[in-house]
């Protein structure tokens, strides 16, 4: 299947062509895509975007090799994702290759993949330069290691959980800090705000940076995967830089504006979420140690149903790719001094008691809410950036939180018409985990609830973006 995006104005707008296949056999799928592209391509491409669902897990490099043979001189970026959107269609199974042409843009893709999530970000940020335009990062927010490393992760988690038991808070924090450092060193959690900030510093806080955070709603071992210049760099980070005047960045989240002070924000959060319980939390960096003195999942279990899995069941689910990560219940953290919030989904992800996740919450206060979203979130809120498009002829690369599927099920398919009405033509959308963003002030259109650090935006639900090129 193929769709060519075309524009009457050939001078300023990026042009694109999308080819899609969902053949089971990766060779047949890549062959179908290449043959379709050959038939329809009517410009010299300057950029390749490649996204694929998990059905090709284990075969990504083989597919990239075939595309590399065909289009190897191009900068290429992409990732394994849960779905994609192109002209009036939403697909949650298959692969898409998007070729783009824009002689006015300076485009390059760089990547890094070294031991240590933050070291990987440092290494890549050191290579960056961008005077105008935008940077689009691709990185996993959680990378599930292979079996051997996975067992070590469980063993470490169990060890540090055991060591925390019955200890003073300071001692618990020391063990949690050690576990946090272990997770970073082994590329398991990629703290999005911290990573974005490293790139913002390198570009003098002048360039908007979108973080396409990759996390599948059902996870497999050795996933998700990042693609950089036709290489599967697995848990690495890839940066697409598009230097061009007047690139428009639209960011939004599904929440109301935050308040002017933390009390007002708490009231607003209280209206948007159904608050079930307030806890006193103990945490260190990105590791939650306890809620009201109990292990986090155990504390939450008294108020909501959480099904628990043993290590064997978790391993089996990861092997089959059926380990679910979406949760309707959140823990909401408040940063009282800077009037910011962060929420993270909670369920029995681990066969141990500590609860690590993908944001360093050191600056947040110890009063934590257990909550769930109220039912009045609208499906169209998940595509809100598309309602403020400036020029429909431009190429539009947008993201939608895949949690919309978890929340609205197959009704999400109905979005395709609305998206097509709004974007018209020349667009490509990615269904993946909620994105993160660093936005210089001129791109901040309102007081987003998802501002987690100054000018840095991230939430574990409902963030989206659109880049008009």
């Amino acid at each position: 299947m193929i769709f060519t995006n075309s524009s009457e104005d050939q001078t300023l707008k990026m042009k694109s062509i999308v080819s899609f296949s969902n053949k089971r056999n990766p060779k047949e799928a890549s062959k179908e895509v290449i043959e379709d592209i050959r038939k329809r391509l009517n410009f010299e491409p300057d950029l390749a975007l490649f996204y694929a669902t998990q059905k090709y897990n284990g075969n990504y490099q083989e597919i990239l090799d075939r595309f590399g043979e065909e289009f190897g001189d191009l900068p290429q970026v992409g990732a394994s994702i849960d779905g994609m959107i192109y002209e009036e269609d939403i697909r949650t199974d298959g692969m898409a290759l998007v070729l783009c042409h824009d002689p006015e843009a300076r485009i390059n893709v760089k990547g890094a993949s070294v031991k240590g999530a933050l070291k990987t970000a440092d290494k890549l940020a050191d290579k960056m330069s961008c005077k105008e335009g935008a940077i689009i990062l691709h990185f996993p927010i959680v990378h599930v290691p292979g079996f051997r490393d996975g067992f070590e992760f469980y063993a470490r988690g169990a060890y540090y959980s055991q060591r925390c038991k019955g200890k003073e808070v300071e001692a618990q924090k020391e063990y949690a800090d050690k576990f946090s450092r272990y997770c970073d060193k082994n590329n398991i959690f990629y703290p999005a705000p911290t990573i974005l900030n490293k790139f913002a510093v390198k570009t003098n806080y002048e360039i908007p940076i979108i973080g396409i955070n990759v996390l599948h709603t059902q996870m497999k071992v050795d996933s998700p995967n990042i693609f950089c210049n036709f290489k599967d760099i697995q848990g690495g980070i890839a940066a697409l830089t598009i230097e061009k005047e007047d690139i428009n960045i639209i960011y939004d989240d599904i929440f109301s504006n935050k308040g002017t002070n933390i009390e007002e924000t708490r009231n607003i959060v209280g209206n948007e979420f159904k608050v079930l319980k307030e806890f006193d939390a103990v945490f260190e960096k990105n590791v939650l140690i306890s809620l009201d003195g109990k292990p986090p999942v155990e504390a939450v279990e008294s108020f909501v149903h959480i099904s628990k899995n043993g290590e064997g069941e978790i391993v089996e689910k990861f092997e089959k790719g059926s380990f679910e990560v979406w949760s309707p219940y959140f823990l909401i953290f408040f940063d009282d001094r800077s009037n910011r919030i962060f929420h993270v989904g909670i369920r029995a992800f681990y066969p141990f008691e500590l609860f690590p996740f993908f944001v360093d919450i050191s600056s947040f206060s110890e009063k934590v809410w257990l909550a769930r979203l109220r039912a009045f979130t609208k499906l169209s809120d998940f595509i809100s950036p598309l309602y403020t498009l400036e020029e429909r002829e431009r190429f539009k690369l947008f993201t939608i939180d895949v949690g919309s599927i978890s929340a609205f099920g197959e009704r999400t398919y109905r979005l395709k018409k609305e998206i097509n009405n709004l974007a018209k033509e020349n667009y490509f959308g990615i269904l993946t985990a909620p994105i993160s963003a660093y936005l210089p002030p001129k791109y901040q259109r309102r007081a987003y609830m998802s501002e987690i650090e100054e000018s840095t935006f991230f939430s574990s639900a409902g963030t989206s973006s659109c880049i008009e090129i």
Binding site: N22, K23, R24, T53, Q54, K55, D82, G83, D89, I90, R91, T92, D93, G94, T217, Q218, K320, G321, S322, I405, S406, G409, E410, T412, Y413
Partner: protein
């Protein structure tokens, strides 16, 4: 068979986690099927043919969008694809239910468009 209908079924059958898909008339007569080996699914297909009228009755009466049966080795989803047809899909129990249901919903819509 209309090319768009054939294409919709072919694409659905390529979906990860989907073992077979069958388009039935509402009286239980199969119109088109995509299966790896009909013999291995014979029992389950026989069961499905017998269930169609009952399932359609429930869908119509209770205004359901679909009906899913979960067995130990399979999940079976019935989606009405037009007033006279039902799309039945046999899924691997470990298939990603939300993502595959979107693909089934897509195929069902495409079939409806092809039939009308």
């Amino acid at each position: 068979m209309a090319p768009d209908l054939k294409k919709a079924l072919d694409e659905l059958y390529e979906t990860d986690g989907i073992e077979a898909c069958i388009l039935y008339r509402i009286d239980g007569t199969p119109i088109a099927l995509r299966t790896p080996d009909r013999r291995t699914l014979m029992d389950i297909m026989q069961w499905m043919e017998n269930e169609i009228k009952y399932v359609m009755g429930h869908i119509e009466r209770d205004r359901l969008e679909d009906v899913i049966f979960t067995f130990k080795e399979h999940k079976i989803a019935f989606h009405p694809s037009s007033k006279s047809t039902v799309l039945a899909t046999i899924l691997n129990p470990d298939a990603h239910q939300q993502l595959t249901s979107l693909e089934i919903s897509r195929a069902s819509t495409k079939i409806k468009e092809a039939i009308i």
